[in-house]
């Protein structure tokens, strides 16, 4: 794994700005990988062994994903919408899993660790570099039973929505009275008032060279 400084710089660039959440996320990822013995998580032989569950969609999540190389599209990054500054690192080969929680007290201790800095964002960024892991994080060893349909790899399960015909992958269908439905055909959906439209330049496609 690259040094903290290098990872922080690259993570900040990938995220779009260098913020305190990047420092916390990079360190969380470094600790998580160390605990599950995957010290080169982006290497060819380790990348398929790692799953990471992030519990927030904040800056820290991007840093964790950047350092570990996990991605939503590879199914190695799982988003659990808990609103907690925490992530769980799972070694699929050994089954070892550790949940790392960013402590609330670390936020209160920022000024204590950086008394010479007055500017708040700079102070936070520096403080989260100075604090030892013991202050920044609490760690739980956990067991994570990863369902077969959540594992990376080819699609193993497909179902047809009995209402609209949509194919639903990975057991995300909703079964009611023995019939399968896609989520949009149930009430449990994030949008409303859906109706199909046409749009300008409907036949656009990238030109082949």
């Amino acid at each position: 794994m690259e040094s903290f400084e290098v990872l922080l710089e690259k993570s900040g660039a990938a995220h779009g700005h260098l913020c305190p959440g990047q420092a916390v996320g990079v360190r969380m990822a470094m600790l998580g990988c160390r605990l599950i013995d995957l010290n080169e998580p982006t290497s060819r032989d380790q990348i398929k062994k790692l799953l990471v569950y992030v519990e927030m969609d904040r800056c820290t999540a991007d840093a964790v994903a950047h350092v570990t190389g996990v991605k939503l599209g590879r199914r190695s990054l799982k988003f659990m919408d808990y609103g907690i500054m925490a992530a769980t690192f799972v070694n699929l080969e050994t089954g070892h899993a550790f949940r790392i929680v960013s402590t609330e007290e670390s936020r209160d201790l920022v000024e204590v660790y950086t008394p010479e800095i007055a500017d708040k964002p700079t102070q936070q960024l520096k403080a989260y570099q100075r604090m030892p892991d013991s202050v920044l994080f609490r760690v739980q060893q956990v067991e994570v039973a990863v369902p077969e349909e959540d594992l990376p790899g080819p699609t193993r399960f497909k179902a047809n929505c009995s209402s609209c015909g949509q194919i639903v992958r990975d057991r995300r269908e909703v079964v009611r009275n023995g019939r399968s439905f896609c989520k949009p055909c149930t009430d449990d959906v994030y949008f409303s008032a859906a109706h199909e439209i046409t749009w300008p330049d409907m036949n656009w496609a990238p030109k082949e060279k």
Binding site: L109, V112, P132, V135
Partner: protein, 341 residues
Amino acid sequence: MLKKIKLKDAVGSKLAHDITEIRPGEFKGPAFDKGHTVCNEDLCHLQKLGKNNLYVIDLEEDEIHENQAAAILAAALAGEGIFWKNEPHEGKINLVAETDGLFKVDTTALAALNMVDEVMCATLHNHTLVKKDEKVAATRAIPLVMKRVAIERAAAIARQNGAVLAVKALRQARVGLVITGNEVFHGLIEDRFAPVLSEKVTALGSKVDGIAFAPDDEKLISKAICDHLNQGCDLIMLSGGMSVDPDDVTRKGIQMAGATEMNYGSAVLPGAMFLAAYIGEIPLLGIPACGLYHRITVLDLVLPRILAGETIGKADLAFLGHGGLCKDCQDCTYPHCPFGK
């Protein structure tokens, strides 16, 4: 885990913790020690102490008693020059100076430790001069029973920079004094700086090896410094000439003598025009005229730290600002006042 039992059912049980008795102005201490077996005769006394129920401890594998917790914390807190005995008193362990010296606290690590739920450590102020066997800190776990992992995490936090607490013995410096000023050099007035500085030096266990007088001439001030260094002095203190007048050339003299680091100005009153410089590893302290008038100045804050082996830089002089204002009390009670705390 703690189980509550009624007092009337407690005869024959062992107490899970010391039971404290407080008689205002007369006594505070354990009326009953942890492990004491409750007998019929105790019931009335316990009732008078407001105890109608008692705890019986049934520790789970991942739990520890407050006494064990206090010992883990004390071990993590104690650094050089600190000792403690594994004899918790009402769940609390005192940490004591092993030697005379300067008490030092890693205030950052202390704050981080105290942010952990259910543990605490209270200390004297950082940079307090202490005597051997003086209590400098105390620690305890707050609940009677707690999870071992929480205590171990707190202990790790305490050890983040080695240890939170230390007492550094003061070295015995060979001090060279340079008293500057035409008025003294030419005998127009009698010097009163040398006795004041000598007293402060000897009070801290060091000795004055030589006193040189120099006029307001940077070359001669520089020569006086070099002479002291050549004679083996390992701390130079200069008085006067630290202000902004054209005749104030002590700083120039220090520079000319080969100072590798110079920090002029401290966030302390009295002592704003104080200077801490170094020639190699040898400190040079420039004491402004306030040192003559005020009993206690920035010198009293800095000199013990120098003798305890600290290198005083710009940040150290700046951070003295909070608490660095002397109230000029008619009856000075320093160090028992807020100055320098």
